[in-house]
């Protein structure tokens, strides 16, 4: 038998208008062409229009004096625009830095309260969430500002809560710690006490793991820390004192004072965002398999232990990514401060534009800065997330 050779047909390529490889390249080139064309056209129009109106298209304006006043900062009108923007960034971050921890705490508490076995606790938390979640954040901020803070008594005759809180319709102030002479020495003492207590904590934990004896690590580790903090404070003659705010004439002295604009933005955003965080916490706890709770009950854990050692650690993992999203939202929503006159980034940009600084560049800068802030927050958050996620097989 002789092997018959099949006739080999040379691979024929389909005509180019049916060839997937050609079409793929063509489609991408077409998309790029359309996008470049449209953006180029818009950019060309923009440049032409700006030239006709005599608006500069460079970034030289950044070094010119800003000629604006910014309340609650040491910014002077003669400083350049660049500095004004920096103050805006700082104020935006100030909202995020205070708002995010408060939101996390409040949201977690309300979220857990929604899962309570107690009907009234559950309903109160539900009322909180369903009210705030369905209101626009801007309205919450404006309400806190105009209907609560602006209705407070005038600054000459403020509400004084035991010398710790002073509330008026222009400024809010809280008591704040002030450094004494021996602060450095005190910090050293506290640091040493902290190290000692961490070492004790670890040793007690290990001893308990090895022998099975109760570790009592909170008591054992807490003692040296308490000794360092209290003993150091007494020995070093009050290295940290509390400064109490008090109304003096037309201002507040002492403590840490803030404008009601800042107070309204932080309060409003914390109230609004915490309602979303509460839903995330509730959802993540409910996502934990019932078997986990039942197993914890079976081995005799109390309800607090069940939550602390079984449910919450697992729920936390589920909750982290959506929580990060809420933190980003809070940071972005700080731009709503414009409505209550707090000088954060967007508000300062708007004022600068009204001071004849070129709008296109200002808006471009504003977008770039928010982009950078968002990217930094998501990078940090993603690193945290990766460390928390369970490594599976």
């Amino acid at each position: 038998m002789t092997a018959t050779t099949l006739p080999v047909t040379p691979a024929r390529r389909p005509p180019p208008w049916r060839d997937a490889r050609v079409l793929r390249v063509a489609a991408q080139v077409a998309v790029v062409a359309v996008i470049v064309g449209v953006l180029g056209y818009l950019y060309d129009n923009l440049i032409t229009n700006l030239r006709i109106r005599g608006i500069s298209t460079d970034f030289d304006f950044l070094d010119r004096p800003a000629t604006i006043e910014i309340a609650y900062s040491d910014f002077r009108a003669s400083q350049p625009v660049r500095e004004a923007i920096r103050v805006g960034i700082k104020n935006t971050l100030l909202v995020a830095a205070v708002g995010i921890p408060l939101t996390t705490v409040l949201g977690t508490v309300v979220g857990l309260a929604r899962l309570s076995t107690n009907l009234l606790v559950r309903s109160a938390a539900g009322l909180y969430v369903e009210t705030l979640r369905n209101l626009p954040p801007l309205l919450v901020i404006v309400f806190v500002n105009s209907a609560v803070f602006l209705e407070l008594p005038r600054i000459g005759d403020p509400i004084d809560v035991g010398g710790f809180l002073v509330l008026s319709n222009r400024e809010l102030a809280a008591a704040s710690p002030v450094a004494g002479d021996q602060l450095a020495a005190y910090a050293l003492v506290v640091a040493v006490a902290l190290v000692v207590s961490i070492v004790v904590w670890r040793r007690r934990t290990r001893a308990s793991e090895v022998t099975g004896a109760p570790h009592h690590r909170v008591i054992w580790a807490g003692l040296p820390l308490l000794l360092g903090v209290v003993g150091g404070y007494l020995l070093l003659d009050a290295p940290v004192t509390l400064s109490h705010p008090a109304a003096v004439g037309r201002g507040i002295s002492g403590g840490v004072a803030m404008s009601i604009g800042y107070g309204a933005v932080v309060t409003g955003l914390v109230l609004y965002t915490s309602s979303h965080v509460a839903e995330i916490v509730r959802g993540s706890v409910q996502a934990i398999d019932r078997g986990q709770t039942e197993a914890a009950e079976a081995i005799g854990l109390s309800s607090a232990q069940r939550l602390r050692f079984v449910v919450l650690p697992q729920a936390f993992r589920i909750a982290v990514p959506p929580m990060i999203n809420q933190f980003l939202n809070l940071t972005k929503n700080s731009s709503l401060a414009i409505a209550v006159g707090y000088a954060e980034l967007a508000a300062i940009t708007l004022v600068l534009i009204s001071q004849a600084n070129p709008a296109p560049q200002m808006v471009l800068l504003l977008m770039t800065i928010y982009l950078v802030i968002s990217i930094v927050i998501s990078i940090v958050a993603n690193v945290v997330n990766r460390h928390l996620q369970l490594v599976e097989r």
Binding site: N118, E151, L336, M367
Partner: protein, 413 residues
Amino acid sequence: MTATLQPPVAVVSRTRWARENLARTPMDAALTIVFGLFLAWAAYRGLRFVLVTADWEIVRRNLRLFMVGRFPPDQLWRPWAAAYVMAATLGFCTGVIAAVAATDPRRAATSAASTRPAASVRSGLRRFWPLVVFIAAVLVLIRTPLPGVLLIGLVAVVIACRAVGRRLPGLARWIGVIVAAAVLLALQIVVAAGGVGWDDWGGLQLTLFVTVAGIVLAFPMGVLAALGRRSSLPVIRVVSVGYIELFRAVPLVAFLFIGQYLMLYAVPTSVDPPSFLIRALVVIALFESAYIAEIVRGGLQSIPVGQLEAAQALGLGPVQTTRRVVLPQALRNVIPAIVGQFISLFKDTSLLAIVGFFEVLDVARSVPSQPDFVGQGLSSITLAFAGFVYWVGSYTMSRESRRLETRMGVGTR
């Protein structure tokens, strides 16, 4: 024949129920007392504010501002007529959808029960109580009889058209066309032939218009961007990712500034710049579509590869695979999240107040400085009313979405 046994229903006595929900432990009982007192106090203060302390005169006098902004009074028949067109469409379409759903054998039993008039009124009240409260509040605040009669007529039209729609399930496939035609008709009634231009709209009318137009524009754009992000063509993927991430990283306020300051200059000098509302709408649609794209992407990722392979095995091309196999399943999976984004859009329209539109929030902010009311600290009243308007809208939408979610069994199948 196999009889399916339902699980036994636990019978819990009232005292047992009270003990489990109110006083499991002494600590729990203490919590009940504390929260009971707190809730009672809150309810007392809330009711006292609404019924006694708050003087709603400022809302009563400015109700028209809240509803339609500075719309010329002699042209008010136009928004009313448009509202009637939209109400008829809404009632008709929900009726048709309900009729189609009733033909589904799995739900036939439950739907049949709700067609009895008394039961359907009760279930309607329970389902839409926030809206009912809102309409009742507006009726109380109205000073002249005509708008009240028209408002009740509006509700009647919705119910009547729903009844008509229930008898015509065959029209289900034309719903898209009917809605589009009705929206265009309503728009024409307000704008055409000596009507009132968009830039003069305000109040709830503006809010609702921007919400509807924003949804209509942003949804297809979001689906396209999501498909682009999942494309195998690298250039299209990079462009989509860039678009989505840029719009998600920057707050809406910044984009509204672009609409305000930059878009004006982006048209050729020979053309009149687009009106402010159109620019704001474009910005809102672009912004929300980026968020919708991420939601749809989640839906696309939830479709198993087997579905794609099966479609390819049947000989469907890429466009048909996407249109007939992937998208229907992907969108069904993410309906609740998309409705959530529509709620966000509705709430985000309040940001128009920042760039100078006279919408509900801006009305609430500005009327306390009218000469008759200035300096009386009335902003809590006007803002509470504005908040109520927004709350009714988003709470109704979120309830409907949750209802849809359970009906479609998302997550349980």
